[in-house]
Amino acid sequence: MKNEKEHLFDKPRNVKRLLTIFYGFLAVLLIGDFFIHKHTDFAWEAWPEFYATYGFVACVVLVLAAKYLLRPIVKRREDYYD
């Protein structure tokens, strides 16, 4: 392992760069939302940042529900059925 070449994400700096680009793109998406003429079926689709908010909230709810509600109920040892 010592002589192994350093890979892309071994440097914390690169991870930081990636995250910065990612956050930057999110900002572009948030701002770009105001410059698009929307054609929608439902009224709420045209609300500012509707999809961004829904995507974020949905995933937080998904993870929290899976972790705190589902896992305590269904988690068993790997040899449960053996």
């Binding site: 892309l8 054609h39 998904l62």
Partner: protein
């Protein structure tokens, strides 16, 4: 014009010759040639009803060719080529034979014009697929295969009963629109028979139980055929059945919760398979031309990108022998191409613009919103965000990035890379140029759909990137559930534990009876009868004495021996009594 044969026949007959070819190169050539010959055969069969055979007064049709069946026929050939390339290194003939029989059965179902031949191919699907699970040859795969077979046998029987009732009430064996409006029990049985193979909620655990236990290459076939033939059958027989809208919407929702906490990456993909089939089922339920087009084109795309994801995880498993998220990580360093292909598959299933999922899933979403189904639309949107979360991010992240597991291995074998490369190319090509690919094959040509509108691109990109933001923040804050070596109970609990309970009830109850019978008829009675026939009087005296009927000393046994004629006399008297009872 060339002479054609029913679609599927080349796969099924061709499969039987695979073990006879001993030379490796020739075998590889033969395996690759089969789908090509079969495809050429398919495109030469004219549109309409072909290969009709009369059987018991009914017309069996082995090639009902129209746009709907052709779309599935094409993609089944395509995925067979890809799966066979991926499996070329496999020396186990059983897997190749099973794979081709399974594929042939899927084609048989797709082109069946009548319910009876449909049923035969439907059962053949189970036979072919179960060997792809057993071929892993572990105790777990053996058990899972048996459970898989049992569930499908029950589903198949339900379908058979439904078909017979349907024929009885309508007098027709044609496989065409059936619907539930007639209220016949037969229609419902067919509906739920299809539902078992389609992995509807509560009927689904066979999928998440068995697929992760299948062989690395077998699961590529599995992910393509069983559920998609069921989607095809529903699209043919039950379009516009409103119950399907809700079934589909629930299918998109519940597996993603499981997928978030699942450790086995192939099981995560199995859950996401149900989630994607949910979009198709929902589209079929909505039933408009746009919705059906969306459902079947999504089936087309899903077969390719789901296979790509299974192939990339399979390649990791092949090289490292591990498939649990807890054991993997950092593999982008040693398997960069596999990692890249996995990301393409992940982007496609998440429906990123320019990737295949985008152009098909959005049709179902649009059909829901055009129909004003707001709750369904919210459920599907939740599932869209969720699928990116568990399949789009989780699979590549935990396998190839995350914490470095320290595993250093080789890149996947060349044949696997080629197969993944073809699938990845198709995902991007279809996503970028749908009008030159999947949109040309759609069953309804009267609806035109443009996925690449600014509104839609912005909406989908926002949805996905902010899902990614949620993942990033939850991971950085440590809230994201860490991968744990554990299993998660699903509905299969009821038959896995239920069967044990049933066995213990039966053994306790029936065992008790058997024990009693054993005591009376094996241990006690014969001994007593033997003693009685040998020394009747003395043993009778003994019994009487034991029972307290007589007292005093028992005479010597030897002096109580009965003359041999006496038992004969008793027997004759007994027969005489019986005869008198019967005669008078």
């Amino acid at each position: 014009m060339i002479n054609t044969v029913p679609p599927g026949l080349i796969f099924i007959i061709g499969a039987l010759f695979i073990p006879l070819i001993k030379n490796r190169t020739m075998k590889c050539g033969y395996l690759l040639l089969l789908p090509i010959i079969s495809f050429i055969n398919l495109i030469h069969i004219p549109v309409g009803t072909n290969f009709t055979v009369e059987f018991l007064g009914y017309n069996l049709v082995f090639a009902e060719i129209d746009r709907l069946s052709l779309l599935f026929g094409y993609v089944f050939h395509l995925i067979t080529v890809i799966a066979v390339i991926y499996a070329l290194h496999v020396k186990d003939d059983l897997q190749h034979v099973a794979g081709y029989i399974y594929g042939g059965a899927a084609l048989g179902v797709t082109f069946a014009g009548d319910l009876l031949s449909l049923f035969v191919f439907w059962e053949m699907l189970t036979v072919g697929s179960v060997f792809l699970i057993w071929a892993r040859r572990t105790q777990k795969s053996l058990d899972a295969g048996f459970r898989y077979a049992l569930v499908h046998i029950v589903g198949g029987l339900m379908l058979l009963a439904g078909i017979l009732m349907h024929i009885h009430s309508t007098g027709s064996v044609d496989f065409t629109y059936i619907g539930l409006e007639n209220g016949n029990l037969g229609s419902y049985l067919i509906f739920f028979g299809f539902g078992v193979n389609c992995a509807w909620p509560l009927l689904h655990p066979w999928l998440t139980d068995a697929y992760p236990e299948a062989t690395i290459t077998g699961v590529i076939f599995l992910s393509a055929f069983t559920t998609k033939t069921a989607v095809y059958a529903l699209a043919r027989a039950f379009p516009g059945t409103s119950m399907l809208i809700w079934i589909g919407a629930v299918m998109t929702m519940f597996p993603i919760f499981y997928a978030v906490i699942e450790n086995d990456l192939r099981r995560v993909l199995a859950y996401s398979l149900i989630n994607q089939v949910g979009f198709m089922v929902c589209g079929i339920g909505i039933g408009t031309h746009l919705a059906i087009n969306g459902a079947v084109s999504h089936a087309f795309n899903d077969i390719i990108f789901k296979a790509l994801l299974f192939m990339s995880v399979g390649a990791v498993m092949y090289r490292t022998g591990k498939v649990n998220a807890t054991d993997l990580g950092g593999l982008y360093k040693s398997m960069p191409l596999t990692c890249l292909f996995c990301i393409v598959g992940a982007a496609s299933i998440s429906a990123f613009p320019l990737f295949s999922g985008f152009v098909s899933k959005s049709m179902v979403m649009s059909a829901a919103s055009m129909g004003g189904m707001s709750l369904i639309w919210f459920m599907l949107l939740f599932a869209s965000a969720g699928v990116f979360h568990h399949a789009g991010i989780k699979i590549p992240f935990f396998a190839f990035f995350s914490h470095d597991s320290g595993i250093r291995t080789k890149e996947a074998p060349l044949n696997m890379l080629i197969a993944m490369g073809i699938a990845a190319f198709l995902c991007i090509f279809i996503g970028t140029f749908p009008q030159y690919s999947v949109y040309r094959l759609l069953p309804f040509t009267d609806v035109v759909y443009h996925p690449y509108t600014p509104t839609h691109i912005m909406a989908q990109t926002q949805l996905l990137f902010f899902s990614a933001l949620a993942f990033t923040l939850l991971l950085l804050s440590g809230i994201y559930p860490s991968e744990i070596r554990a299993i998660n109970l699903d509905f299969d609990l009821f038959y896995r534990k239920g069967s044990k309970l049933a066995v213990s009830v039966v053994t306790t109850f029936a065992g008790g009876i058997a024990k009693g019978l054993d005591y009376v008829f094996i241990k006690t009675l014969p001994a007593k009868l033997a003693a009685l026939s040998k020394h009747p009087l003395s043993s009778m005296m003994k019994e009487y004495k034991n029972a307290g009927v007589v007292t005093g000393s028992t005479p010597e046994t030897s002096s109580m021996l009965m003359p041999s004629g006496v038992p004969v006399l008793i027997a004759v008297a007994f027969l005489f009594i019986l005869a008198s009872v019967f005669l008078f």
